[in-house]
């Protein structure tokens, strides 16, 4: 999942070679590319386009095509497509593992995916039926103008007892959600701790970067603590912060004067 995210977002980065290439092909493609209603729809379209057997999907090839088409359609941000890409990559990896010898049951890692695809395909057939029926009905108008005083409508009387109403009240009361109460756990930021981290990092490296101090995926309190620690040490004159150009990552260098002091 992480791999996919990094890979796709890198290729979309403006100015990067890969991004430019994708952008160019998009111009040629975007007109003809159909709109998919989800990752299974896209996958099914690939299987049809590539004329492969749904029961024996060449996962490596289809996976590659899936990711390529995601790029063309700029679907990289959609969690559902990313999840499917990750699933395909996982199946691809499982297919590469050596299979146990002999007659032992080998569970095809594609089984679950095939099941879902068939289920989805079946539902698409129903969609075709509904589309046809709906379009036919859509082209006919029913009577909507019914002046109440002149043309009474047959409307069935209600069968409704007080008991039913109260049972409904009961259901409402039982199922009404409790007010959501969040326990807020205070997590004090730890500037002192991060000052030690920063000192250790710049003792080892002449030039360090922010991610050396705060690892990727750190929690907000860690990011804040790291940032404050850097600013505090810069104020104390122990290090120097420099940014070579706008948006470049910040360079952290030991302050030689501070070291001498």
């Amino acid at each position: 999942m992480d791999d996919v995210t990094t890979g796709t977002s890198a290729s979309r980065a403006p100015g990067s070679a890969a991004g430019a290439a994708v952008g160019d092909t998009e111009l040629g493609f975007s007109v003809d590319l159909p709109h998919y209603s989800g990752p299974l729809d896209l996958l099914l379209a690939l299987i049809r386009d590539e004329k492969v057997d749904i029961y024996d999907i060449p996962v490596a090839r289809i996976c590659q095509q899936f990711i390529t088409r995601m790029h063309h359609l700029q679907l990289n941000e959609a969690a559902e497509y990313l999840e499917m890409a990750a699933r395909l990559l996982r199946i691809k990896a499982q297919m590469l593992l050596p299979r146990p010898d002999g007659e032992e049951a080998w569970e095809d890692p594609r089984t679950e995916l095939v099941r879902r695809l068939l289920e989805y395909q079946q539902m698409r057939e129903v969609v075709d039926v509904l589309e046809r029926l709906g379009e036919d009905r859509r082209n006919r108008f029913a009577r909507t103008f019914v002046p109440a005083s002149l043309s009474p409508v047959i409307q069935a009387p209600l069968s409704l007892s007080l008991g039913e109403l109260l049972a409904a009240v009961d259901r409402v009361l039982r199922h009404a959600e409790r007010p959501e109460i969040h326990d807020v756990i205070s997590r004090p930021i730890d500037v002192d701790g991060f000052i030690e981290v920063v000192r250790a990092v710049i003792a080892l490296r002449a030039v360090a970067r922010f991610r050396d101090v705060v690892p990727p995926g750190a929690e907000p309190w860690e990011v804040l603590s790291g940032l404050l620690a850097l600013l505090e040490l810069a104020r104390r004159g122990e290090l120097r912060l420099a940014q070579p150009r706008p948006f470049a990552s910040v360079e952290i260098r030991r302050e030689l004067a501070g070291e001498a002091a």
Partner: protein, 191 residues
């Protein structure tokens, strides 16, 4: 019937309101006023001569197809004989909330039920069980719903105060506590 008369029949049938003659003319811009009038006459005569239960009437700001009055009673009568319908659980729950918390806005009902209640409110309104009773002073001045006389009639109640233990239920609903009805009603139980 000629094709213009048929087109008029379809349009008058489908339109949610009576259509004035000049608007009917836009259906077929090539037809002359005389041809249009002839087609209207043909349609009206067809309904009259052929013994239809509907007639073409020029009233209420335009032309409309109406059921002939002599069938009104039979239809009204049939209404009484139709097998009674039950409300869906969703409709019942919404009705219960409106009954005990009126006047209440759609958003407030949705907050309690946790789902969209637009179509349910609409059908309860069509059934005459609830009605718009005012507007809230809250942002957007949403419509406020309450129950109707037909609602009371349905339960053979004289007034709303006769609904069992209104206050406790209203408070309970407001607080959204997960108490069961048994706890609320205690020994007085509704059934």
């Amino acid at each position: 019937m000629n094709s213009l008369a048929k087109l008029l029949e379809a349009a008058l049938f489908a339109s949610p309101r009576p259509i004035p003659t000049d608007e009917l003319a836009t259906l077929d811009t090539e037809a002359s006023p005389a041809a249009l009038q002839a087609a209207l006459d043909e349609l009206r005569e067809h309904y009259d001569v052929d013994g239809h239960a509907v007639e073409l009437v020029d009233a209420g700001g335009g032309w409309q197809i109406l059921t002939r009055p002599e069938y009104t009673e039979a239809i009204e009568h049939a209404q009484m004989a139709v097998r009674p319908r039950r409300l869906s659980p969703a409709a019942l729950e919404t009705l219960a909330i409106v009954a005990y918390r009126q006047p209440i806005s759609r958003a407030e009902v949705e907050e309690i039920r946790g789902v969209d209640v637009g179509s349910v409110l609409k059908s309860l309104h069509e059934r005459g069980l609830i009605d718009v009773v005012g507007r809230s002073e809250a942002l957007g001045r949403p419509l406020l719903y309450g129950t109707t006389d037909a609602f009371l009639e349905q339960f053979a109640l004289r007034h709303l105060e006769e609904l069992p233990r209104t206050d406790e239920l209203a408070v309970a609903l407001r607080a959204r506590e997960q108490e069961t009805l048994a706890e609320v009603f205690g020994t007085e139980g509704p059934r």
